[in-house]
Amino acid sequence: MYRFVFKMALNSLMQRRSRSLLVVLMISTSLWGLLFMEGIYDGMTEQLIANAIRSGSGDVVLYGKGYRREQDIKRAIANHAEILQVMAGDPRVASYSTRIMQDGLLATARGSRPARIIGVHPEMEKRHARLDEYMEQGEFDFGGQGKKAIIGARLAEKLNLKIGSKIVISAQNSVDELTSIVLRVGGMIRANNMGFDETAVLVSFARANDMLFMQGAVSQISILLHDQSDAHGVQESLLHQFSTIEAFRWDEIAPVLLQSRQMMAIFNQVTSGLVFCVAGLGIFGVVLVSVLERMREFGIMLAVGTRFRQIGLLIFYESMLLGLTGFALGAALGGSTLLYLQSHGLDLSLMSEGLNAFGLDSMVYAVIRWNYFSMALGAVLGSIILSTVIPLRILRKAKPIQAISEM
């Protein structure tokens, strides 16, 4: 019986071939577009977050107690050796890096701009933030005696600096004296993290230590995790073990980033809702029209003893065939497009000037999430059910048996 009704459903869709094809194409292309959009937008958001995390705080960041409230260089972490030892034994931790940070001024013969002096260990940063990959010009290296500095690309543009340009960096040290050193520009870095690219002046850790009179203490320990969802656990356990530090997760340091992820999720939901209103109306319209134009056929079926619910099953099969074929086709097209864009990326270099400013690279790699598909499937199933139930109610009211003698 079920097979027979299914066959009837298939036959009646085939008999209205071009109409059925149109709906299937309508559903699949809107799903394709939707998946593409979701994957690319999420890819952009994740890249923005990843860039900000990598070149900035890390997944978890440690400061000396009270530093976040008042960024005073004296609130530094002195017992970092002990902390690093604990982290080296923590399997959740992927990498870490110790940094000295102080806000100061970068001056050249032509002018000056505020700068964030960051003292780093180049080898550690290569492993950790992979800052060397962000180099736009020059080498990620501070020279034998640490006489070179690497500066943010946007800062370099603003001050019109070239490789080899002489710069003077000045800042207040930990004993409240104003100190300055003279360095040469060794390279430009662009991490597509706006704050970083506009202010960063990277110097060797030893240089920063001397200049700012840190006596071996560090301002910041940035930690990257294997799995971002461990951030809370790592934060808790470090706070528990060390009373001299404060620890923050990336989403506490930069809540805007988390918000942008949440906004994107809402945006995706709204878009998929809209797209499926269109697809749903497509199925609904086609099923409704085909029910109305088959009034006599249903009348005959009922007259010879077909139960009303068997006709319901027939209509359900028809909308299911339309909806699921459209879904399968759209999911296949969209899924393979996203798979391709996940590994090959989408080249947005034409508009990358604008994108860089927002913290994006010119290559965007798509994200694929199961919930793109499950949400779309849910919407398709919802439209299938509506496209069955409403035409059936209309059919019942129309008393199709009477349509037989009326012709």
């Binding site: 019986m1 008999q15 006599r296 010879v304 003893g305 077909t306 139960r307 009303f308």
Partner: protein, 227 residues
Amino acid sequence: MMNDFVRIEKISKIFTPAKGVAVAALQDIDLTIAQHDLVVLNGPSGSGKTTLLNIIGGLDEPTQGQVSLAGQRLTGMGEKEWSETRRDHIGFVFQAYNLLPVLSARENIEYIMRLQNRTSAECAARSLEVARKLGIEAVLDALPHELSGGQQQRVAVARAVASKPRLILADEPTANLDSKNGNDLMEMMQRLNEDEGVTIIFSSHDPMVINTAKRSIVLHDGRVVEG
């Protein structure tokens, strides 16, 4: 019992197509029809033939009175019971466009047996047997729109008879056919009535067709005037 296989008692049907308008399509009809009979309902247009057939077949409800088939009361059944009674005991042939357009002639003939969940082998054997009797075995795989009007009506008769109902109701089965095809169809109905012993009630106002019946009931203005 044999003689009142179909019992129609005090049937009236009043249509109210609009408020305050009442059309008495049938008035006080009392009839009995014997098993294995071949009965024609005849009468001018508007005399109530279709209305009466629809009430016997449960496609419409009488305003008053009741119908029974083989001693079983049909009037007042629920949707499920009525569906099953029609499916299992009554075959229908309508004036035209009887067939389900998405199914082949064979599938149309098998349709009711499929609803009854009979096996494919049983359906195939029976549809072939009936198709042979009606001379349509060559067109079994065609779709309805590929068949002539005469062939379509024969497929409709084949469907009505295939599931071996006790009663076949046919409302002007030949009205859309030329006289040759009409006569052929009636001859086949006669043969089925004899071979399979199925009781047939049909309506017509074509004198040629009326002559094929064993018994004629004449309606006029919703009343039985003869038979």
